[in-house]
C-alpha cells in the first residue's frame, strides 16, 4: 500500500511521526494508502523552507513564473485521467465529476498564466506639481492552505497557482481524508521543477494546521471547510497577525417559481442536490416551492430521485457515488431521522441503500423530504449529503425571507422565466453565489469564489482577481525629481 510522504524544500521526505491513518476508498471501504500525521515541527520545516525560497522567487520575473504555470498546465493535462481516477478512488465522486474537478483546477492554472498582466499596478502623473504617484503590487511571503476533503484536487488549486505566480511561496496541508490527489499534484509540481521550497506539502491534522496558522513566517492562511472550523481558523490566524480567507459551511436554497421550465428545473435540482453526493458547499439543500409549482414539480422530482443510479464512481454508468466516510453517512442518516421525528414526510428514502458489490461502501441514496418547515433542524443546518427538503411558500418574498434568516450565505438559486423575479432575487439575497436557472452557481476561475454571513470569514475570496489581491500588497511610491 502506498505510504504518503511530505514534500519539503523540493524533496519527498518520510515523516518522522509515529502516528498514521489509512485513506479509505469510500465506495468499498478498502484502504488505499497510509498517511502520516506529521508533527508540528515538520510543518515548521516546511514553512522555513518556503521562507528561505521567498527572496529569490519573488525576484523572479513574472513572465518566468508564468512559464512555470504553462508547464504545470501541460503536466496536469498529461496526467488528467490519472488525477481524475485518484479523486474518484479517495473521495468517491463519479469519474465525470472528478474530471470536472480536475478541469476546474487546471482552469485556475490557466488564469494564473496571465500573471504578467494581473500583477500590474497603476500610476498617475502630476498628482501635485511635478509629483508622480504609482502603485506597485508586491508579493508578501509564505502562504498556507488547509484543504477540505470534498474537492481534493480543485480547492488547493483555487489558491496555489495564484500564490506562486504572484511570487509568494506556499505550504499545503491536504485533507487527512483525501490527501492522495494533492500528493500526486505535488509530484507533478516536482516535474515542473520549481525552485526548492517554493511549494511544500505536509500531511497531517489539527496540530499541523495550528502550527501553520501560528508560525511567525506565515503571512496568510486560506481555508475551506465547515463553519465551525472556519470561525476557528479566522480567529486563530488573525490573532497571530495573518491575513485570512476562511470559507465555511452552507445551507443553499433553490427557489422554484410557478413559471419555471419544469423539465430543466428538475435537471438543475438533481445536479445541485445529488452531484458529488451532496458533498459540496454549493449543493442545493432546501427546495422552496413558490405557489402551486409543487403540483407539477414533485412527481417529476420523485421520479428523478428514484431512478438515479448510485454506485462506485469508477463505473462509468454511475450517476452518484458514496459519501466520504461511515461517520458522514451516520450523520446524514441522523439528520433524516431527526427530520422525520420533527414531522417531515419521506418521499424518497436513501437510508439503508445497499449497492451490489460495494457492501462496505458508505452509500446514502438520494432522499426527498416533504412537509419541511423553516424551523426544523434539517432546514437550518448543513447536511452535506444528497438530501433535499421541500418547503412550500406562497410568494417569492417569503422564500427570500427564509434565505435571509438562515445564518449561512454561500449560494442560492432561483428557477424562473421571469426577469423581474430573477432581478429581485439577485438584488436582495445575501449569498456570495447566486444562480439564475442554474443549480450549482460555481464561479469560474476568473471570478471570486466565496460566501457571505457564516459561510465566509475574511474579505478577499478565492480565485481570480481576489486571489491576486490576497497574495499581494500594494505599495505607493510618490516621487519628485529635482
Amino acid at each position: 500500500m502506498q505510504k504518503l510522504r511530505n514534500y519539503i524544500n523540493g524533496e519527498w521526505v518520510d515523516s518522522r511521526s509515529t502516528r498514521e491513518i489509512e485513506v479509505l476508498n469510500p465506495a468499498t471501504g478498502v484502504p488505499l494508502a497510509v498517511e502520516p500525521l506529521s508533527t508540528p515541527d515538520e510543518a515548521s520545516q516546511a514553512v522555513e523552507a518556503a521562507q528561505a525560497a521567498f527572496a529569490e522567487w519573488r525576484h523572479t520575473p513574472p513572465i518566468t513564473r508564468a512559464r512555470y504555470m504553462f508547464r504545470l498546465k501541460e503536466a496536469m493535462e498529461n496526467s488528467f485521467e490519472e488525477l481524475s481516477e485518484i479523486v474518484t478512488r479517495e473521495n468517491g465522486k463519479t469519474l465525470d465529476e472528478a474530471r470536472g474537478e480536475v478541469r476546474r483546477a487546471i482552469e485556475n492554472v490557466e488564469v494564473a498564466t496571465g500573471i504578467s498582466s494581473l500583477l500590474m499596478g497603476y500610476n498617475a502623473e502630476d498628482v501635485a506639481q511635478d509629483i508622480d504617484e504609482e502603485t506597485l503590487r508586491q508579493p508578501i511571503g509564505v502562504f498556507t492552505m488547509l484543504a477540505p476533503f470534498n474537492f481534493p484536487a480543485m480547492v488547493p488549486w483555487w489558491f496555489l497557482p495564484y500564490a506562486i505566480a504572484c511570487g509568494d511561496t506556499f505550504v499545503l496541508k491536504p485533507s487527512r481524508q483525501t490527501p492522495m490527489a494533492a500528493n500526486r499534484l505535488y509530484e507533478i509540481l516536482d516535474e515542473v521543477m520549481l525552485p526548492p521550497g517554493v511549494v511544500n506539502l505536509v500531511n497531517g491534522t489539527h496540530d499541523v494546521a495550528d502550527r501553520l496558522m501560528d508560525h511567525p513566517s506565515v503571512k496568510g492562511v486560506s481555508f475551506v471547510g465547515s463553519t465551525r472550523a472556519a470561525r476557528h481558523v479566522y480567529a486563530y490566524s488573525a490573532e497571530h497577525g495573518k491575513r485570512v480567507q476562511a470559507q465555511g459551511g452552507a445551507k443553499n436554497s433553490l427557489v422554484v417559481m410557478p413559471d419555471a421550465d419544469l423539465g430543466r428545473t428538475v435537471q438543475a435540482i438533481m445536479t445541485s442536490v445529488c452531484g458529488c453526493a451532496g458533498e459540496r458547499c454549493l449543493a442545493g439543500s432546501n427546495l422552496l416551492c413558490v405557489g402551486d409549482v409543487d403540483k407539477g414539480l414533485l412527481p417529476l422530482l420523485k421520479s428523478a430521485f428514484t431512478s438515479l443510479r448510485v454506485g462506485d464512481g469508477l463505473d462509468p454508468s454511475t450517476q452518484m457515488g458514496p459519501v466520504i466516510s461511515a461517520e458522514a453517512k451516520g450523520k446524514i442518516v441522523r439528520y433524516i431521522d431527526g427530520a422525520i421525528a420533527q414531522g417531515a414526510r419521506v418521499l424518497v428514502d436513501g437510508r439503508g441503500l445497499v449497492v451490489p458489490g460495494c457492501k462496505e461502501g458508505f452509500f446514502v441514496g438520494p432522499t426527498l423530504l416533504d412537509g419541511v418547515t423553516p424551523g426544523m433542524t434539517i432546514a437550518q443546518e448543513e447536511v452535506f449529503g444528497p438530501v433535499l427538503s421541500i418547503i412550500r411558500v406562497g410568494r417569492l418574498r417569503e422564500a427570500m425571507g427564509i434565505i435571509a434568516e438562515n445564518p449561512h450565505g454561500n449560494a442560492a438559486s432561483i428557477l424562473t422565466a421571469s426577469g423581474a423575479a430573477a432581478r429581485e432575487f439577485k438584488y436582495w439575497v445575501a449569498c456570495g453565489n447566486i444562480g439564475i436557472n442554474i443549480g450549482i452557481a460555481a464561479p469560474m476561475a476568473t471570478f471570486p469564489f466565496g460566501g457571505m454571513k457564516d459561510s465566509f470569514f475574511g474579505d478577499l475570496h478565492g480565485q481570480g482577481r481576489d486571489g491576486i489581491e490576497f497574495y499581494t500588497d500594494r505599495k505607493v511610491v510618490i516621487s519628485r525629481w529635482f
Binding site: G100, P316, S317
Partner: protein, 143 residues
C-alpha cells in the same frame, strides 16, 4: 472486428459515451493494423490511412473528454447502448480483397451511425459539433 466485452456498456452518462468513443477509435485503429498484416498490398494505403485517422480521432476525443466536463452532468442519456455498435470480425489471412474492403466500409458505417446518434444524445454544443464532424469523417471513409 468484435469490440471486446469490457467495452460493452450502457451509454447512460457523458463520461460513458466519451469513454466508449475513445475505446471504439482505439479498437478501430488496432483492427486496421491487424488487417494490414493479411490484406492485399493494394489496400495497404487505405488501411494505413484509416488506422492513423482512428488513432488521431481517439486523441481528439480524449481532449474533448478532458475539456468539456466543467458542467457537472447528471442528466441521464437514454436508449443508447454500445451493443448496437459492435463491429464485425477482422477478415483472416487468405481472405479476398473485397472482404477487407467490405470490413473497412462496414466499420466506418458503424462508426458513422454511432456518432450520428451520439450527437443527438449529447447536450453540450461543443461535443455535439465534434460528434457531427466525426460522423461526416467516417461517412467519407466508408464511401
Amino acid at each position: 472486428m468484435v469490440l471486446r466485452r469490457e467495452l460493452e456498456m450502457e451509454l447512460g452518462t457523458f463520461g460513458a459515451v466519451l469513454t466508449f468513443a475513445i475505446s471504439f477509435e482505439q479498437h478501430l485503429a488496432a483492427s486496421y493494423r491487424q488487417m494490414l498484416a493479411n490484406a492485399p498490398a493494394a489496400l495497404s494505403g487505405s488501411l494505413t490511412q484509416a488506422a492513423e485517422a482512428a488513432a488521431k480521432r481517439g486523441k481528439l476525443l480524449e481532449r474533448v473528454r478532458r475539456e468539456n466536463v466543467a458542467e457537472m452532468i447528471l442528466e441521464p442519456i437514454r436508449e443508447f447502448a454500445s451493443e448496437e455498435y459492435a463491429l464485425a470480425e477482422v477478415p483472416g489471412a487468405g481472405s479476398a480483397a473485397d472482404d477487407f474492403a467490405g470490413a473497412l466500409r462496414q466499420a466506418e458505417q458503424t462508426a458513422e451511425r454511432f456518432y450520428t446518434v451520439g450527437a443527438q444524445k449529447l447536450s453540450i454544443p461543443e461535443v455535439k459539433r465534434i460528434f457531427e464532424r466525426l460522423a461526416k469523417e467516417h461517412a467519407r471513409l466508408a464511401a
